[in-house]
Subunit: 303 residues, 2 copies
Amino acid sequence: MAQFGKLAVIGLGLIGSSIFHAARRGQLASDLSGFDSNDDVRLRARALGFASVIEDDLIGCVTDADLVILCSPVGSYKQIAQEIAPHLKPGTILSDVGSVKGAVIRDVAPFVPAGVHLIPAHPIAGTEFSGPEAGFATLFDGRWAILTPPPGADAAAVGRLRAFWQGLGSQVDVMDSSHHDLVLAITSHLPHLIAYNIVGTAHDLEAVTEGEVIKYSASGFRDFTRIAASDPTMWRDIFLNNRDAVLEVLGRFNEDLSVLQRAVREGNGDLLFNMFTRTRAIRRAIVEIGQDSAAPNFGRDKR
Amino acid sequence: MAQFGKLAVIGLGLIGSSIFHAARRGQLASDLSGFDSNDDVRLRARALGFASVIEDDLIGCVTDADLVILCSPVGSYKQIAQEIAPHLKPGTILSDVGSVKGAVIRDVAPFVPAGVHLIPAHPIAGTEFSGPEAGFATLFDGRWAILTPPPGADAAAVGRLRAFWQGLGSQVDVMDSSHHDLVLAITSHLPHLIAYNIVGTAHDLEAVTEGEVIKYSASGFRDFTRIAASDPTMWRDIFLNNRDAVLEVLGRFNEDLSVLQRAVREGNGDLLFNMFTRTRAIRRAIVEIGQDSAAPNFGRDKR
């Protein structure tokens, strides 16, 4: 028994294509309709066959849809919302998968017609790969999805969207958008900014060749390059749309780094040892609740 | 045909125990003798059985050895060198596996008797796990080992140590110790410092609970926690002994981060996009030369 009639997904990259794969696996909608603004992506998505139909126009994709999910970069939402809003039928749930949530409500809510339920969402799942070929049905299994319904949102609609994400394999939490944006600033946005930055620093050092950085990357550097290989457009839009929270946690990070820097300069071994000890407990907890692999090196080296 | 008679390994953690496993696999020495200053580690190492003998005293371990490898934290080298030096026979190669190399020559060379060959080494391999149980025979396979012979080192001895590391499964490079220390500062020491720091920052944020950081860690944070779970004593000693190179690359990192911080503050999307684009090529190169997995998420999610 499908939970929804027509599911419309706009943006057919890693997340959009994975939603189709997982929705099909869970029989969560009877009709799977996709659209992407990129001609080549539409062709490839059609060949991959994960949707019932890949539409050539945006309006056709959302017409008669019961659930519409924006899976394009956050910077594109405003224009898309403006275009599709007049074509959404009453009762439709309009959602998304963006990594920032306050900006989604700011950009999209003004266009949402009465009777349409705006319920932003964010699956905490992904890989460093992009495009319609990157999607797979188990991406959301055991990961968390966060819903950030605006104040006054329809409880039944929130419940239906929660059931949908559970059907995709996720565990679901609900919180307000500003808290989401702060939590993600520290767990996701700052790590990505730091990873992009250190890869850039290594690239620019004159005294160490890029070949050396690459050859000896198994000493720690390679772990940073994985997330620094994520989609540049998506990440540009995240930083443009979560500025305040990112600057807040970056300020904290810089303060803490100054303390470590001074400890290195002064040879303060006790401070370094204490800092390096307390971080192990967090790692252990992440592995214990199944959000990461317990295998050494993420299982990269065969035992 | 064994390359060495007696191999003595001091320090029976991840690297020391892995050397024994791999030396046994490659039949690289006829006699495998181990020592660790920790009583409990010696007991566990004996039970694990990866060495011919685990000695209860340091001198017994190195007596008559043809190759001695220090695998304890770098801060312990000076005292160990002082104690064992009078008991090394002429022709012995004295080496180590520390992540800094200038400090090894500074601390150890003054004690090395004539006829003993000091040839520091550093295998670029490891996992986030510590202790004698963490070792395994394939740890060095396909990874790089860097030898940093001091000026005037005996070429034949360097050649024998090179063959030994190749026998353990490694590819071998030779460079001078100061260049090694700068290369590792950017590829290993800075990434570890940054990872320890960001895990600490997340731990201290009042507005986001530790439970939230752990639950939503799949969004990027978890990749940092792996290397921030490394052995605290070993890492304290690395930062105390590679101060200048670490401060140099940390200065560069901070400069670059200030540029990104300003771009976020000013909403400079073009600068962010360009920074996020050029980092992908380095990731691709690391995967291409086999120093990391091509599987999404390091293969953590099943497809």
